[in-house]
Amino acid sequence: MVENIKYANKYNFAFIDEATKKEIRRKLLKAVAIPGYQVPYSSPEMPIARGWGTGGLHVTLAIIGREDIFKIIDQGSDASVNACNLREFVHQMTNCQTTYDTSEATLIQTRHRITEEELTENQIFVYQVPQPEPLRSVERYEYRTRQMHGEADYAKMWVSLYESYVRSGDIMLGAGYPVKVNKRYIMAPSPIPRWDVPNLNQSKALHLFGAGREKRLYAVPPYTTVEALEFEDVKFHTEDFKGTECYKTGYKKAFLDELYFDDGSKHFIINDSNFLDKLVEKESPKQHENKYIKQLQS
């Protein structure tokens, strides 16, 4: 009997067929060439619904190689449902090694956080992006926002920051704070907390953003200037955790989660699960350096 080689494997390596991977890679190259610019792409069907991490998954599966060591986090945690399922899926489709250890990973997919541990030149960081268009809140029409990006016409964005300051005394954007990339395009850094925004600036790693539902890819190449929008007298600042510390480690210089115990007492804990584990194990992981962390007292 003639052996069926072609259909011996049910799926292609990394699930997506090679032609589509090639298309995504080409779009990624374009995205890297124009930092912060949103490149439309095919956003093929995935076994999960669009808007549930398909964008990040497309990027991951298009660029993953057999040697890659894969880590995925969801809101800083390796153990949340979204992360576990996608890790399992990527592992099944590629047979790649997976890890929780940030420094060991070569390819990290994330939802809504940058790892607390500093990224290196050998790492690629992939974001799942729900809304790639930073101007959507001020302009609902796509043809208009594209024009605005094309002509660097960002006055409306600035006015919305001004209005927010006037109304609330501060720029009330918790996650997805708009940034200017390479002094040109305004970009939505996916909804990462403000804490993480400075870590994009001059980062050693390559950052790739995939928005599956909106069919857009964009990128921040290594060592690119990324600036949070701020007025001359109203400055960008990160989250304020003054007077709190991680209840397990006593650490103060990381992004903290608020926990309520059964007795009603409130505690804080480091959001990045791998960073927390390492501190608990008395290891000393190398953290990102930025002026906002430097200002904090240890």
């Binding site: 016409d153 001004y162 209005e163 007025f231 001359e232």
Partner: protein, 282 residues
């Protein structure tokens, strides 16, 4: 201010806007002579054609004419709200008047618009963003001109609102909650926020009641005297023209039929349409 051939602020030559697909006879077969601006051969519509004039610094020029005569089109073309079909315009403060501003890129046009011009529309909804506060609307213009200091922006905005007699207390309210006259005054504040040398006023008092009209006109006249801004005032209302302008252009069917000193045109109109216009003045 001396007016010689060289100290013009805005020079417009052969400004033309045609909708549809014109042929070579379109411009010749339309206009006041034919009492129509629709080309009989191609059905294209000549909104305005062959409009040429000079505007001098600090001067107020009126454009008067019936509805559909193309007067709003002229200022909208000059403010880049529409794309021209033909013609050219030079603005002295921009590249010393050496470059035709209508042929510039969108980015350059935006620069000119934000730094060197202001526009007050008939309907405040066209000039203001009703989702922003009145302070935010003024801030938009200042930010577009490169001011990123919130304290300075708010200082300037409250100065402007003071000047236009909008209560500064309402700076952080939306113009949607304002009366028509107040909206119009916020619009004027926004238009003059960057001290532009040139201001366009497109039927600013139409739709306001008479006492508010008088206040808005007073305000415009005051601003003109204090700041010395050159203005182009579009109106079908001859009393507005008489009150505000030094020189007047009379338009009909997309052409200029008469131009001259406002007093002269009102006292001694030459063209039969101007005569009709003046005689119908109540």
């Amino acid at each position: 201010m001396s007016r010689n051939a060289d100290n013009w602020l805005l020079r417009v030559t052969n400004l033309t806007k045609i909708y549809g697909e014109p042929n070579e006879n379109t411009v010749d077969q339309t206009g006041p002579k034919f009492n129509s601006n629709i080309c009989p051969e191609t059905d294209s519509i000549v909104a305005c054609a062959d409009i040429s004039f000079d505007l001098y610094p600090g001067e107020v020029l009126g454009i008067v004419g019936e509805s559909g005569s193309g007067k709003s089109t002229v200022v909208k073309l000059l403010y880049f709200d529409m794309e021209k079909t033909g013609g050219a315009a030079w603005l002295k403060p921009y590249a010393d008047g050496s470059i035709d501003m209508l042929s510039e890129s969108n980015q350059k046009k935006r620069f000119i618009r934000n730094n060197l011009m202001g526009m007050v529309y008939q309907n405040p909804r066209d000039g203001l963003n009703f989702n922003f506060t009145s302070g935010g609307n003024i801030a938009e213009k200042l930010i577009m001109a490169g001011n990123y200091h919130v304290g300075e922006i708010r200082g300037r905005a409250s100065d402007l609102l003071n000047k236009t007699e909008v209560p500064v207390l309402r700076m952080d309210d939306r113009p949607a909650n304002f009366s028509g006259g107040m909206q119009q005054r916020v619009q004027i504040s926004k238009a003059i926020a960057n001290n532009p040398p040139l201001l366009f006023l497109d039927e600013v008092t139409t739709g306001l009641d008479v006492s508010v009209q008088a206040k808005v006109l007073d305000l415009i006249r005051e601003l003109q005297q204090d700041l010395g801004i050159a203005m182009i005032v579009v109106s079908h209302d001859l009393s507005v023209i008489r009150m505000l302008t030094d020189r007047t252009i009379v338009m009909k069917n997309g052409r200029i039929v008469e131009s001259g000193l406002t007093d002269q045109i009102l006292q001694d109109p030459q063209h039969e349409y101007s005569q009709l216009l003046v005689s119908s003045l109540l």
